[in-house]
Symmetry: D3
Subunit: 128 residues, 6 copies
């Protein structure tokens, strides 16, 4: 597969996950370092998120878990909570993933993760 | 629910996940700090792992992701890779969860996670 | 001990440590995930903080040290600096614990910890 | 070398790196814990930054890399991006160091690092 | 205070804490990087550990807590468990500090900390 | 550039850095997860390490700094200490980068980094 294909495939996956916000995310990343935006699309979404062997919902569960546990990536956690909801997680499932982190990363990581979930839930159109 | 119930319920969940190794895990934890073993059973398995709202397979996917990303808990990661396989993840799914961490925690975390998976896979009776 | 007892005991300990702010902390935690609030009270304060074998002041010294070193939990660090002062630490002792972290977690962790201390000290009624 | 010498030497190094902002940084650190300010000058700049064996530009490259990877020290990262630029790094080199961290600490650490760089670059007088 | 004084004062503090093992620790650190050994003695023990305002036992409680929470420094955690015991902590108090970390850094950090305590306790001459 | 080009370019860069060990590193990574090996070559070395704008020696200085500070990647730190030496760093410069981390990640991270350096230095043919 050539380079253009990876980018196109990644962008399509980004749109599948983030809908209309995809283009905005790409633009925001590219302001200071255009290549960073390209790597996220090509490698993050074109290579990794397009892999077979694990459904997209499970990938986002894994991501919300990891970012909650690390505790160093608040904006990315909020974005991936949206992604998780977009690909089929319920708000309850997102909350459960974050609660589970109390065991592995402690209560402060969980409390901050729940705070991120609260903010993300409020950013979404009402329903559910 | 009273205290005995939480412990019993946690131990049952531990056995559902780890089979015959459950009792051994409890004993190992309890050597220096018996209460630690009790908290893991009561809170970790009796409270958290028994919650509705997220299936057990998703819980282990979240856990493998978090421990891979943190990179500070090699023995626990290996144990939870076994748990993930025990509750229905395929080896391929475990590998995918760990690979996904390259995006969020970098390649060294992923490489060490794959190494843990390799060790866990080899500890299991042959077949895939 | 049954479940109600753990919650009551935890809440009493929370009030011993945080005074009037205890109820507010419980409410804030419970907004998105009521069970998280319950676990913090039951497990965090009913089980762990109520253990014998270490006085409350030493527990808060350990907590301020850990949260400063981790560097991922600014709101919780500020809360536990208040807790430390409430259970008998002097402001000087809190500063010393944070300074000590320069050795184990580096200067940025320490500088950010001192910043949290400064904010917490200013939130308290005047006197030392 | 006596104590006064270490402080003077450290302050001179701080001024070599930060110019007019040096005095302000020292004052800001010293508000709550004057000794912390002194340790940063004496040990951080008088001892470590004055060591032979590695040029100042390489030291700042190492520091920007470490703070980006840790992801827990946003204000210090921004300060050291200024330091790197002050001792001879180009903006492009700073961006490259941060991009490289995608491999070792993941994309969120890199994205947050690039954001810090963008803010630092905008704080500087126009040119370059 | 001049440089020789800081080193002498730090070494005396190291001996107060570690007894006969102090000289061995200094030698081990100095093999590849003699200055590292010197900095640990001068800054770590001569400056920080000699500060007034917090008793030595509280300093070691803070250190055991931080190293358990960070989870990246197994040999240093074991050394500071010895230090804590040497300056007056009971084994029970050390265990309590580590258990408390379950709240702030999760169970894997605590389990690995208890394992370190178990190893340190076994290295000590019998009696409790 | 098409996919084959990225792999070839990455492998060439890997060989430039690691010499004869490159092929062995690729093979070791590929045992459990062949795609991981491919991503490291394509993205890590074909994309990132081949970027203009920062010389290879500075890239390895940044990497040794980051891995020392994170403290979660001992095997990768040792490999990158070799890489740093291979692309022109002196042993003294590697030691200086690691010592500098005492300021940003604390002494345990530095001590463990120096230990990794000692091991890497001993694995190399004699001479300095």
């Amino acid at each position: 597969m050539d380079k253009a294909d990876r980018y196109e495939r990644g962008l399509a996956k980004l749109k599948e996950i983030y809908g209309d916000r995809a283009q905005m995310l790409v633009a925001a990343l590219g302001e200071v370092a255009p290549d960073l935006s390209r790597y996220v699309v090509e490698f993050g979404f074109g290579d990794i998120h397009c892999r077979p062997g694990l459904d997209l919902k499970s990938r986002e569960i894994a991501t919300v878990a990891a970012l909650t546990a690390l505790g160093t990536a608040a904006p990315q956690l909020r974005a991936h909570i949206h992604a998780a909801l977009n690909v089929g997680c319920s708000q309850e499932e997102v909350v459960e993933v974050i609660l589970q982190m109390a065991l592995y990363a402690g209560f402060p990581a969980t409390i901050n993760g729940i705070q991120a979930a609260k903010e993300a839930f409020m950013e979404r159109p009402a329903k559910k």
